[in-house]
């Protein structure tokens, strides 16, 4: 892959929080994402929607560097994420570079993935103590603040097995925030939840949008929620961005045939 055409760093004047530049992802001959170009601005909340298999979750996983990419470069705050500069050239990133870069990115998963052998509080202290090197007292104070923010402070000493899905997901959000990320990724965080607890999780995300200047990228199937809180909706179809627009415009007046079809289908399902 020729990387010489890619800048080593984005110029100050043109530095979105995240930039996907000609990013391609494939598994063998199956192309999941085809030449993706996507900027996410500082503090922006972008919702990624689309039919299953459209590559939307892959976008998040690539940004978390859980997936390698086959072409292109991803920049975070102007610096290459998937690559690093060596000898004046871009080369694939090593483990140390990835670890440094992903420290500014937090992620919440569809199935929460809380650590079952730790209490809610310990889950939220683990990263700050083990990775950021905070003292136990500092980490505890930070974790308790965040657990209070997500309304889980009274369950802080419970293990995940004693918590409902909605409660686990709120702890998972607190755990990710405890690392003080600048970018938060939400990968279908309400898809595994019972309908009656979805609200408690979306409420927390609404609060984040309102009170923090985090840059957020969210994959979701909840159109109403996405419309309410997003600055922009990205509709993925077959590994490409088919259409993107601010939510009012996107839902009221979708331009593309595929988008209209998808929105009709989602509406029928409701």
């Amino acid at each position: 892959m020729d990387l010489s055409a890619y800048p080593l760093e984005l110029p100050e004047s043109d530095r979105p929080m995240v930039r996907f530049l000609n990013v391609t992802k494939s598994y063998g001959s199956l192309v999941v994402l085809d030449n993706l170009n996507l900027d996410i601005q500082r503090g922006e909340m972008v919702s990624v929607i689309g039919p299953s298999g459209s590559g939307k979750t892959t976008v998040l996983r690539m940004l978390m560097t859980l997936e390698t990419i086959n072409g292109g470069v991803i920049y975070v705050d102007g610096k290459p994420l998937t690559h690093m500069v060596r000898g004046g050239r871009l080369v694939p990133a090593d483990e140390a570079h990835l670890r440094r870069m992903r420290a500014s990115i937090g992620m919440c998963f569809q199935h929460f993935n809380l650590f079952p052998h730790m209490t809610a509080l310990q889950n939220c202290m683990e990263g700050p103590v083990q990775v950021l090197g905070l003292s136990k007292a500092e980490a505890r104070a930070r974790a308790e603040d965040l657990l209070a923010m997500v309304g889980m402070i009274d369950k802080k000493d419970q293990h995940p097995s004693r918590l409902s899905g909605g409660q686990q997901q709120r702890v998972a959000i607190a755990r990710a925030l405890a690392m003080r990320p600048r970018i938060m990724l939400f990968d279908e965080v309400t898809s595994a939840l019972d309908p009656e607890v979805i609200g408690e999780v979306t409420e927390v995300i609404r609060k984040l949008v309102a009170e923090h200047d985090l840059t957020m990228l969210m994959v979701t199937h909840q159109m109403g929620f996405a419309r309410d809180i997003s600055d922009r909706i990205c509709f993925f179809y077959k590994g490409k961005i088919e259409e993107q627009a601010p939510p009012e415009q996107f839902f009221a007046n979708p331009q593309r045939e595929r988008t209209q079809q998808f929105l009709r289908a989602v509406k029928d399902a409701d």
Binding site: M64, L66, E95, R99, R102, A103, I105, G106, M107, F109, H111, N113, L114, F115, P116, H117, T119, E126, G127, Q130, V131, Q158, H159, P160, S161, R162, R175, A176, M179
Partner: protein, 219 residues
Amino acid sequence: MWEFLQTYGPRLLDGALVTCAQFVLAALVACSAALVAGLGRLSPVWPLRTLATLYIELFRGTSLLVQLYWIFFVLPLFGLSLPKFEAGFLSVGLNVGAYGAEIVRGAITAVPRGQWEAGYALSMSPARRMRRIILPQALVLMLPPWGNLLIELLKGTALVALIAVPDLMFVAKQINGTTFRSAEAFGAALVIYYVLARLLITPAMRGLERTMARRLGRA
């Protein structure tokens, strides 16, 4: 029978104590070897993987008795002499450790992928993820098969009698040799082995399983 126990009880007890010592030391060797080899099998570094595979193949694929004889009788020819007591628990421990390594490996790979990913998303290094996130969960999964293996290990220690470690089996054979009261001598050994396995190892492992379950908040 009563008079037999009165005469030979103390010697059998001494033997049982040596068996217990062999068991504890061999179990330590087995656990350490299993952990190292199990992690080695999963290592991204190929020489470590190869080394671990060689160890497992060698000790699982050949007879414990032959390994015992090798370590006690053959290694001295290469300049490495071990006293019989050390040679005994080392052989048994390394042999059982090879089976344990597969248990360790299996348990680690059975921890859900999402746990790795959650640790990864917190920027944890691979070693830290293994130590803080994966191993504690793998430990819970591997306890039941380890309970089984430790009973195997206890019974395996009987072979050290063949290199004259004065364990329970050795004492029983000695008593049999001098008195020809085979039924009593070997009967007593049988009962003692059973009692050790059934009343010490099994409850200890059950207790450990319960403790671990509690730490997961499941009890």
